[in-house]
């Protein structure tokens, strides 16, 4: 498993760091992922019932925030002070799209403390492995190499502290191995789901495009855009004039 992964990362890295524009894209993704972990770690710092963990999660969050900044700086430097338009989010606002919040619950809330720690351990160990592979290859410039080396130190620390915490749980007789298995299984499942989702999107995009040209196109003849200027209001919102019952009935409608 580990060999396979390293081989895969190595091959990917040979390609990805060489194609024009790709290093920026990779580093942008890293930056966003680091910011996502910062948000997750801060949420954990807030939610943990174990008060002695709060500071650890908090400092971890600060590390991830710093990493996000370093990666963003590298993107900018490699782009000669400019970033691609599609990466503007990171330059302009750093708006975060990907994160561990699902259905209103943070990663910590969904996993609980033990599994969260197991998750941190597994994810950080994966990151260490990934960054290690990259460092073995030729990165775009010495500054990026130095930055990655610097970050790798922090990530190794994240591995060791989460490992220690897991060990502590183990001594307390908690099912640490089950948690680790659950986390690995979930990461695999999520990877697979991402793949099927992407594939599904691609496939549905194909069918929707067929629908578009086949079924939507003909209606073009009778459709036109609205013209500008004031026009009388179309809303069903005037219903209150006709009594409250009617108002309530209209308010129930989705159209």
């Amino acid at each position: 498993m580990g060999h396979l992964r390293r081989a895969y990362l190595g091959t990917m890295s040979e390609v990805a760091w060489r194609l024009p524009g790709w290093p920026q894209r990779l580093l942008t993704e890293f930056s966003l992922a680091e910011r996502g972990s910062m948000v997750d770690m801060l949420a954990a710092a807030q939610a943990t019932p174990r008060r002695e963990m709060r500071r650890k999660y908090f400092l971890h969050a600060l590390d991830e925030g710093r990493h996000a900044g370093i990666f963003a700086e590298r993107v900018k430097a490699l782009s000669g002070g400019r970033v691609a338009r599609s990466d503007a989010v990171i330059e302009d606002a750093g708006l975060l799209q990907d994160h561990g919040i699902v259905g209103g619950k943070t990663l910590f809330e969904r996993l609980g403390e033990l599994e969260f720690l197991a998750f941190v351990f597994v994810a950080e160990a994966d990151a260490v492995e990934q960054f290690g592979v990259y460092l073995d290859r030729k990165l775009p410039d010495p500054e990026t190499t130095a930055a990655l080396r610097d970050i790798l130190k922090d990530e190794s620390f994240h591995v060791s502290y989460s490992k220690l915490e897991c060990e502590r749980y183990r001594r307390e007789g908690k099912p640490v191995d089950a948690a680790l298995r659950a986390v690995r299984w979930r990461r695999m499942k999520e990877g697979w789901m991402r793949f099927t989702r992407d594939f599904g999107e691609w496939a549905s995009g194909f069918w929707l495009l067929l629908l578009y040209f086949g079924a939507v196109g003909p209606f073009r003849l009778i459709a036109r855009l609205e013209s500008g200027g004031w026009r009388s209001a179309s809303g069903a919102s005037a219903v209150a004039r006709n009594g409250l019952d009617e108002a309530l009935a209209a308010a129930r409608l989705e159209s």
């Binding site: 908090f58 970033v83 989010v89 495009l209 459709a223 200027g229 108002a247 989705e254 159209s255």
Partner: protein
């Protein structure tokens, strides 16, 4: 059992939840403050949960949950636009259909599942009605013209209403794709800023330029004699392109757009001639777009006066956050009173929809207008103490926090100030603020570059005590209320400009906040005390967040922003936190 109405806005821009108990606002919160994702548009599950907790109820106790949009009508518009722009819309169509067929179309079920309410309790209020209601019912006015101007809701992009007592009667509307909000966003994107985020930056940039591109921009937008407007759609692609808002024709007309992140150096500095000229071109373009939106708003407002005739005008919709335009509406427009919903963007729709249910659907009489903005989550002091202790912060309880903070400010410190509930709307109004002494010009650069890490050209707002506002600022008579929400600008009196250089924009204006003791008693004390110490009853006030992040809400967020920024000291309610070494 009292009547509880939960208003929800989500799935487009800023998601929010607002809870009313018998028509009284118990709590109002934006999801981003909980999830820590700026402009978070996902269903506001955490904000809603907080609202229910604040009201002391569960979802089962809700009389109604109201969503701020009519989803099917919006879908109809998206479909109709795709058809009308065939085949150009081929790229956007699959994306849009995927999100709609995926979940947005089945919204009632989604809402029931997410918030735990029965289907018969779920109501829907039109997007622009939600905006209009958020402006009218939250205002103190019982008779008013109500204008909502934004990007787009279902079909409408601009709507005019007559508000009278509990009723809001639609008068007329402008429909998509003709949209002032979309026009301003297109220019925002052309200037290299993120749409729905960078609009403030365009406004800030505008002050450095001259509107010498007005003739070009006037080809994009035609104001008609009947008080309406239309876009020339040849220049726009937001209605059919998946990502781009302007066509090559726009680029040909206005010149190449600014690359995101390209340095903006209008005042020369280190930049050479070419870079400086390019910066000036952007500034001039921003100034032209700003002048255009102001003129367009005045045009609409004059029409509103002619059509409705009241003394008061209530404004909402994203465009109503343009404080410079609001100043001109107040100064040059025909209305004696202007009222703007502090969360004029889509977050405010949650409040409007809930108020609409209470007043218009259930027929209950009006309440006194919205008087305070600290409607969100507050931090129980023992919880803050516990958090700070656990995080290893060095802190002490102070007897008189506003006095202590004022002394720190007078001492030249830049402080983080967390007090009471967090603000409703995008502006920090003294509850989640970064504060500084406005008397030194270096403060502006210091806070921009070393505290908030944002663009140097962006201005800072002053907060002034209500009693002293007039002697420092020339606030238009009609804009007294918007000034309390930091939603207008005002000329700084010329003889005072040199005293508070950190908050005077390059054109001699300031986006002032007038602090009333009734609205924010503690913050009012702070500013008063600073005035007593220094003779200047004004503090520099900017939102407590770092670039790209939402305003801090709880202790952990505040602490995380504190240690990552160049702030000197932080107050969390009564606790004074020292900067860690």
């Amino acid at each position: 059992m009292p009547v509880y109405v939960l208003g929800i806005s989500a799935l487009y821009h800023d998601a929010a939840a607002v809870i009313l108990c018998d028509g009284v606002i118990i709590g109002a919160a934006q999801e981003e403050r909980f999830s820590r994702l700026k402009h978070d548009a996902s269903l506001p599950i955490r904000a809603a949960a907080w609202c229910l907790k604040k009201a002391g109820i569960t979802a089962a106790d809700l009389t109604y949950l109201v969503f701020y949009e009519k989803p099917l009508r919006k879908f109809e518009r998206i479909l109709a636009t795709s058809v009308a722009t065939f085949p150009k819309s081929w790229g956007a169509f699959p994306r849009q259909m995927r999100t709609w067929l995926g979940d947005k179309l089945w919204l009632r079920g989604t809402l029931c599942a997410a918030f735990g309410v029965r289907p018969d309790r779920v109501l829907f209020c039109e997007h622009h009605l939600s905006h209009a209601a958020s402006a009218f019912y939250a205002s103190p006015h019982t008779e008013a013209a109500v204008l909502a101007v934004d990007g787009v809701g279902e079909w409408a992009t601009t709507t005019l209403w007559r508000g009278s007592g509990t009723s809001l009667t639609p008068i007329s509307e402008v429909r998509f794709p003709h949209s002032l909000g979309m026009l301003y966003s297109t220019i925002t994107a052309h200037l290299g800023f993120a749409v729905n985020e960078g609009e403030y930056k365009v406004m800030g940039m505008a002050a450095y330029g001259q509107p010498r591109f007005r003739a070009e921009l006037d080809r994009l937008l035609k104001l008609d004699p009947s008080g309406g407007y239309a876009l020339d759609l040849d220049y726009f692609s937001f209605h059919w392109h998946p990502t781009r808002s302007g066509t090559p024709a726009l680029e040909a007309l206005l010149g190449p757009g600014r690359f995101p992140g390209a340095p903006f150096t209008p005042e020369g500095g280190a930049a050479g001639g070419a870079a400086r000229a390019e910066s000036q071109r952007w500034a001039d373009l921003a100034a032209s777009a700003q002048a255009q939106i102001e003129d367009a708003m005045l045009h609409l407002v004059r029409h509103a006066k002619a059509a409705v005739g009241t003394d008061a005008l209530c404004l909402a919709g994203g465009v109503a956050l343009n404080s410079v335009a609001n100043r001109r509406i107040a100064q040059e427009g025909p209305f004696a009173h202007l009222w703007v919903q502090p969360a004029a963007g889509d977050a405010g729709g949650a409040m409007g929809a809930a108020m609409w249910v209470w007043h218009a659907v259930l027929g209950h009489p009006r309440q006194p207008g919205l008087a305070r903005a600290d409607l969100g989550r507050s931090i129980p002091v023992d919880r803050a103490r516990e958090m700070l202790t656990d995080l290893g912060a060095k802190f002490e309880a102070v007897d008189d926090p506003p006095a202590s903070a004022a002394a720190d400010l007078a001492d030249g410190k830049v402080i983080g100030w967390v007090e009471g509930g967090d603000e409703w709307g995008p502006r920090a109004l003294g509850h989640r603020s970064i504060l500084a002494d406005p008397r030194s010009a270096e403060t502006k650069e210091h806070v921009n570059s070393r505290v908030k890490y944002r663009e140097l050209f962006r201005p800072f707002a002053p907060s002034v005590t209500a009693a002293d506002a007039d002697s420092w600022f020339d606030i238009p008579a009609a804009a007294q209320e918007p000034a309390c929400w930091m939603l207008t600008t005002a000329a700084v009196r010329p003889e005072k400009q040199a005293t508070i250089p950190a908050v005077v924009h390059v054109d001699g204006s300031a986006r002032v906040q007038v602090v009333r003791p009734t609205a924010s008693p503690v913050f009012h004390q702070l500013v008063s005390e600073f005035g007593r110490l220094t003779g200047v009853p004004i503090v520099l006030n900017t939102s407590f967040n770092l670039k790209g992040e939402p305003m801090v809400s709880c202790t952990v967020d505040a602490m995380a922003s504190f240690v990552r920024s160049g702030l000197d000291v932080m107050y969390v309610d009564g606790l004074r936190v020292e900067r860690p070494k």
